[in-house]
Structure formats: structure tokens, C-alpha cells
């Protein structure tokens, strides 16, 4: 199953620029992709300085995240992300500072935008897939014209939850788009040990639409997702998009990929870098130049620095926060535990 491609690895346009992408948005995609790449560097540096817990870099997957996100309307649609979707989450309005606080383990890092179209990032692989199906199904039942996009990885696609979610999407006709980021790895486990099947083909087995897309081609990702969204909104049901991409960095900052990634394979993958490809085309099309790159970098540095400022200003943790939001009303037993805890704090224990 040949992946859909609109931009060849050398940046040649092999199809049409998809509808819905004016200059602003074409440039916006580039900027967000760049932000992703630089965020990785900055976050890894922060982590080394002990400011973040583990961080999951996204380098290599910028096109898959950004193309699929731009094809949705964050003012209307919903995002149900796995942990490596920081770019999609930012696109849905999560402040970068909040994201960093989350990685730091600060309770305020769990703050989500008020609009409630952004789910918390999911750590349990594929456990959020049925949530996405239910959410999309519920939107349809409530008569809202909106779709849901849910990202997860090739590893997560092996989980039973992924199958249950996609099959349920098939029978309910839920307007949901599953984007499987097939980045070749689940931590150290390569794709051929994860599955011998073609992930996109799973769509046939559960009766939803399926597409295999070059995940390093932001235009193809955009086009496929846009088509899937139109299908979802028109009552055509769910789509599974397999984004064939490659994880260029470590699984997380706790991981050392040199132990298991073949250096040649990695080199080869770098030749398909989604940023280079898109930049080449964008530049050729007269939409990108050094000035724009510099402006983007300045904006990014500003954005990241601002986020780090927010982060640094977050202040100490409110100890009582541990007991907040377990239930709408605190049961007596929990109230007693809270009191006991706060008293001990006061007592200097």
C-alpha cells in the first residue's frame, strides 16, 4: 500500500497543493514545525539541567503532527492526544508554559484550556482511543458538527484498546480520525517486531476508511486529514490514517537510542527529514526565505523563553492540591486525610 505523497523527499511537488491552505497557513505550518524542532533542543537542555522530568522529543514527526492538526479546526474540533503531540496540543491552545510544567511534574501543568476541546495527554498507550470514539459519537448525538482527532503510535496500535476503539467507531459512525504515527519504533522495538501487518489496512477489518500517508510530507498529511474530516462531518464516519514517519531522536530523555538504532538507518531517515522537504518546496514557491526563517526563529525563541518564564514563575506547589478534584464533593474520609496531612505540614513533619 503506497503511502500518499504530495511532496517528494527532495521537495518537488508531485500533486496539487491541497485546498484550504492559503499563504498564511502554509507559512504557519512551517513555523509550527520549526517550533517543534527547536522545542526539542530547548526541552532536552532544560531536562539536563533538572528542570523537566522526562521529555519525549518529536523530531522527525513534525509534518505528521502539524499537517493533521492544521486540517482540523481547533475552534470546533477536538484533540485527544498521546504524549508525543506537543505541537498538536499547542495548536489547540495549550500554553507552552503549561506544557513544560506538566513535564516538570507541577500540578499546574495539568491545566487545560477552558474550551474543553483538548483532552489531557495520554500516557497509557491507546487507552485514549476509545475516549476519542465516545467523544465523537457523543458530538454526533448532541447534534454538533465537529470531528475528533486522536493520535497514537505504532506501538500503541498493538493494544486491544486500539482495536476496540476503531471497531466501535465503525459501528457508531463516529466522526473520529485516528492518526497512527508509525515512527518505526516503540521505544527500542522496531516496527517489524511490533507488527507484520499494514496498519492502514486495519481499517478494512473494522469498516472505517483507511489511508496510508507519507508522514514526513506535511501537505499529504494535511490533505488526507482534511478529506477524513470532511467525511466525518458529512456522516461518512471514521478514518484511520497511518502516517509513515520516523523518530529521529530518542524515545525520551531517559532513553539511549544508540543502543538499538542502526546508524545507517538513521542517516537514511534523515534524508527524508520533513522540515527540509517542506522548507525546500516552500522556498521554491516563494513563500519562505531567510528573513522568514529568522523571524520564525525569533518568534520561537521568544515563545519558548516566555514559556520558561511562566514556568519559573509557577511558584511552589500548593500542598493541598494533592487532595483537590478527586470527587466533586469531598467525602469525609478524604477530608480527614487532607486535614491530617495539612496538620502534619504545619507541625513541620
Amino acid at each position: 500500500m503506497e503511502p500518499l505523497q504530495l511532496l517528494a523527499p527532495d521537495g518537488t511537488l508531485t500533486g496539487d497543493v491541497p485546498d484550504g491552505l492559503d499563504e498564511d497557513r502554509l507559512v504557519g505550518m512551517m513555523r509550527l514545525m520549526l517550533l517543534g524542532r527547536r522545542l526539542d533542543q530547548k526541552a532536552i537542555a532544560l531536562q539536563r539541567r533538572g528542570k523537566l522530568g522526562t521529555y519525549a522529543p518529536l523530531s522527525g514527526q513534525e509534518a505528521a503532527s502539524v499537517g493533521s492538526s492544521f486540517a482540523m479546526d481547533p475552534d470546533v474540533d477536538h484533540l485527544v492526544p498521546q504524549y508525543r503531540e506537543q505541537l498538536a496540543m499547542l495548536h489547540w491552545g495549550l500554553p507552552l508554559g503549561t506544557y513544560l510544567l506538566q513535564r516538570y511534574g507541577h500540578p499546574r501543568g495539568a491545566e487545560l484550556p477552558e474550551h474543553r476541546r483538548l483532552y489531557p495527554q495520554q500516557v497509557a498507550l491507546a487507552a485514549h482511543a476509545p475516549h476519542a470514539t465516545g467523544l465523537a459519537w457523543g458530538l454526533r448525538l448532541r447534534g454538533e458538527r465537529a470531528a475528533v482527532i486522536c493520535h497514537f503510535g505504532d506501538g500503541a496500535s498493538s493494544e486491544g484498546d486500539a482495536h476496540e476503539a476503531m471497531n466501535l467507531a465503525g459501528v457508531t459512525g463516529a466522526p473520529v480520525i485516528f492518526v497512527i504515527q508509525n515512527n518505526g519504533w516503540a521505544i527500542s522495538v522496531p516496527l517489524h517486531l511490533q507488527t507484520r501487518g499494514v496498519i492502514a489496512r486495519r481499517a478494512d477489518g473494522v469498516g472505517i476508511a483507511g489511508e496510508r500517508v507519507d508522514g514526513n510530507d506535511v501537505l499529504a498529511m494535511y490533505a488526507a486529514t482534511r478529506r477524513a474530516r470532511a467525511r466525518a462531518l458529512d456522516g461518512g464516519g471514521a478514518t484511520l490514517i497511518e502516517a509513515v514517519t520516523y523518530r529521529l531522536g530518542a524515545h525520551t530523555t531517559a532513553d539511549d537510542p544508540t543502543k538499538y538504532v542502526d546508524a545507517d538507518e538513521l542517516e537514511d531517515a534523515r534524508t527524508r527529514d520533513p522540515l527540509t522537504r517542506y522548507r525546500t518546496w516552500l522556498t521554491g514557491a516563494g513563500l519562505w526565505d531567510e528573513a522568514r526563517e529568522e523571524a520564525a526563529v525569533a518568534w520561537i525563541d521568544e515563545t519558548v523563553d516566555e514559556a520558561v518564564r511562566v514556568f519559573d514563575a509557577a511558584g511552589p506547589v500548593d500542598p493541598g492540591a494533592m487532595f483537590d478534584h478527586v470527587y466533586a464533593d469531598e467525602p469525609p474520609r478524604l477530608a480527614r486525610q487532607r486535614a491530617e496531612y495539612l496538620a502534619a505540614l504545619g507541625g513541620g513533619a
Binding site: A124, A127, T133, A136, G138, R142, E164, N167
Partner: protein
């Protein structure tokens, strides 16, 4: 007030809640056309349509996972698990997704979800159909667990569960579906979650039970009365949150306590009750708290089950021993 069976009451309550609030929907295996394998949802699809009464694929994690999504979309899902023994397939979704969503989103995504599940033994069911594992889920903060033993409470607790802003696991006694019959309010009836009920007052010993074991406990109390032992039966009915006040007050008064449950003894919910009572009533206890439970074996083949789960005779025996201590 009308005398109704428990299953009829559950059906009626679901119907009332669906009529009252159009966001309420029912989903699960066989809940639609069939009306549930025990008829708890009979007639609902005809009245409310296939969008609100949904036969799902056989996929428990998917059912609970989808309920989470449905709730965040503004629906009020009441999911049925055909038997609690198959809740295990959804364990991660119940204990670690559903239960925690409010907490991990700082209240942004509360989940008004009810899970109904029949459970409990002595109905000659196949393997895994009789398992009583409510204690396992009681260790998952964020989830409420209730287990009525009367039809009236079935109505009151189900109404409260559906309207509760937090997820509630609502356990239905398989054995009591048709056996249990009592006066049920015809109109709206709510029993606050987190309150126990003194099912029978008595001064000599407190028996703590829930779900069908309350019926057994009351029978044992009758028999004990004939021997001059006055048993107080407390229907715990809300496992999480627990009504420590009613429980502690009773045991402190009687000074003796027997805890009854159907799960295997080791690490069942009875252990929680026993621990709580010894913490709250230590100085008032005149005998060790007796724990009655299933044996520490898997649920046995049906011909042995009546000897597996505690029955009247074992409860009576424990009552006698506790009083005589």
C-alpha cells in the same frame, strides 16, 4: 409505593431517568432489542430509540472508554457490563481512566458516568459469571461503588448514581433480581451515596453486609433472635465513600462485629471494613471482628457454590462465636 422486584425497579428507574434527562443514554451488550439478558433495559429502546439505547460490540474496555468520551461530549452514559466478571476486561478503563479523569484534569473533565453490573453467586452460572470483585475496584480513588440490597434502595441509589457528577459503579445482586421484592416509591427517590442503612436494629452484635448478603444476614438475625441474640444488621450499601459514622456508631454500641462478603477472603473489601472498624472502635471491641467471605479459591463449579459463599448458617455461626468470645 408499590411492591416491586429489584430488576423491575431498576428498569423503571432507568426509564424515569431517561425521561427526565435526555442526555441519559444506556449502552452495553444486548441492552437494546433484547432489553438486556436480565431484562433490565426492556422496552427502553422502543421508547427512547436506538441512539439512546445502544447495543454495543462485545468489547468491555471499549464500552467504558467510549462512556468517558460520551460524558465529555455532554451525554450521561449508563453503561451495562453484562456481568461484573467481565469488568476485568475493562479494568484499566474503569480504575485508571474513568476514576481519575476529574483529578488529572483539575476538574475540567468531570465524568458523569454510571456503570451497572450484576454480580454475586448462587445462581448456577458458568465460570466467571459469579465473581464478586468489588474490593479490587474500591482501591481506585475517584470511583464510587454502591450495592443495594432492597428494591427501594435499588431505585434510590440508581437515581443518585446517574445524577452524581462522578463515576459510580452500581452493583446489582444477580440472586436478588427477582427474589428481592419490597415497597418502592413510585415517584422520584434518592438515597444519598455514602450512607449506610440500619436494616435491623439490635444490641448484641453488628453484622456488616451489602448486596445479597444483607438478605442472608437478616435471615441469620431472625434465627439468632430465637436464641436470644439481638443482631444489628447494617447494610453498608455504599462501599465508596463509606459511611464510617453509622458503622462505627453501631459497632461501638454493640461491641462486636461480623463482616460478610462473597469475594475471596484475602484482600476482599471485608478487609477494609474490618480495618476501619478496628481503627474507629478499638476500645469498644469486646471480640475480634469476624470476617466471613468466599474461600481463598477461585469461584468453584456451580454444584459447590452454595458452600463457597457465606450463607445464613455460616453467618449465624460467626454471630454466635463472636457473642460468646
Amino acid at each position: 409505593m408499590t411492591v416491586r422486584s429489584m430488576i423491575e425497579t431498576i428498569r423503571l428507574t432507568l426509564e424515569d431517568e431517561m425521561a427526565r434527562d435526555e442526555r441519559v443514554m444506556v449502552l452495553g451488550e444486548d441492552v437494546g432489542t433484547q432489553g438486556g439478558v436480565f431484562r433490565a433495559t426492556e422496552g427502553l429502546k422502543a421508547r427512547f430509540g436506538a441512539d439512546r439505547v445502544v447495543d454495543t460490540p462485545v468489547a468491555e474496555a471499549g464500552i467504558i472508554g467510549a462512556s468517558i468520551g460520551l460524558a465529555t461530549a455532554g451525554m450521561v452514559p449508563v453503561a451495562e457490563l453484562q456481568f461484573l466478571g467481565f469488568a476485568h476486561q475493562a479494568f484499566h478503563q474503569i480504575g485508571f481512566q474513568l476514576a481519575r479523569f476529574r483529578y488529572r484534569t483539575l476538574g475540567r473533565f468531570p465524568l458523569q458516568v454510571t456503570i451497572r453490573a450484576p454480580y454475586g453467586g448462587a445462581v448456577h452460572a458458568p465460570e466467571l459469571h459469579s465473581d464478586a470483585f468489588e474490593g479490587m475496584l474500591a482501591n481506585a480513588p475517584g470511583l464510587k461503588i454502591v450495592a443495594p440490597s432492597t428494591a427501594a434502595d435499588a431505585r434510590g441509589l440508581l437515581t443518585s448514581a446517574i445524577r452524581d457528577p462522578d463515576p459510580v459503579l452500581y452493583l446489582e445482586p444477580l440472586r436478588g433480581y427477582r427474589l428481592v421484592r419490597d415497597e418502592v416509591p413510585d415517584d422520584e427517590h434518592l438515597v444519598p451515596i455514602g450512607t449506610a442503612r440500619i436494616a435491623r436494629p439490635g444490641r448484641d452484635v453488628t453484622v456488616l453486609a451489602w448486596s445479597f448478603q444483607v438478605v442472608n444476614a437478616l435471615e441469620a438475625a431472625e434465627a439468632a433472635a430465637e436464641e436470644g441474640i439481638e443482631v444489628e444488621v447494617v447494610d453498608v450499601r455504599s462501599l465508596v465513600p463509606l459511611d464510617e459514622t453509622t458503622i462505627a456508631e453501631s459497632v461501638s454500641r454493640t461491641g462486636r462485629c461480623v463482616v460478610v462478603e462473597e469475594a475471596p477472603r484475602t484482600a476482599g473489601f471485608g478487609a477494609e471494613l474490618t480495618s476501619t472498624v478496628q481503627e474507629l472502635c478499638f476500645l469498644d471491641l469486646e471480640a475480634p471482628i469476624a470476617r466471613l467471605a468466599g474461600w481463598d479459591t477461585p469461584y468453584p463449579m456451580p454444584l459447590l457454590e452454595k458452600d463457597y459463599i457465606p450463607g445464613t448458617a455460616r453467618i449465624l455461626d460467626a454471630v454466635r462465636r463472636t457473642v460468646a468470645f
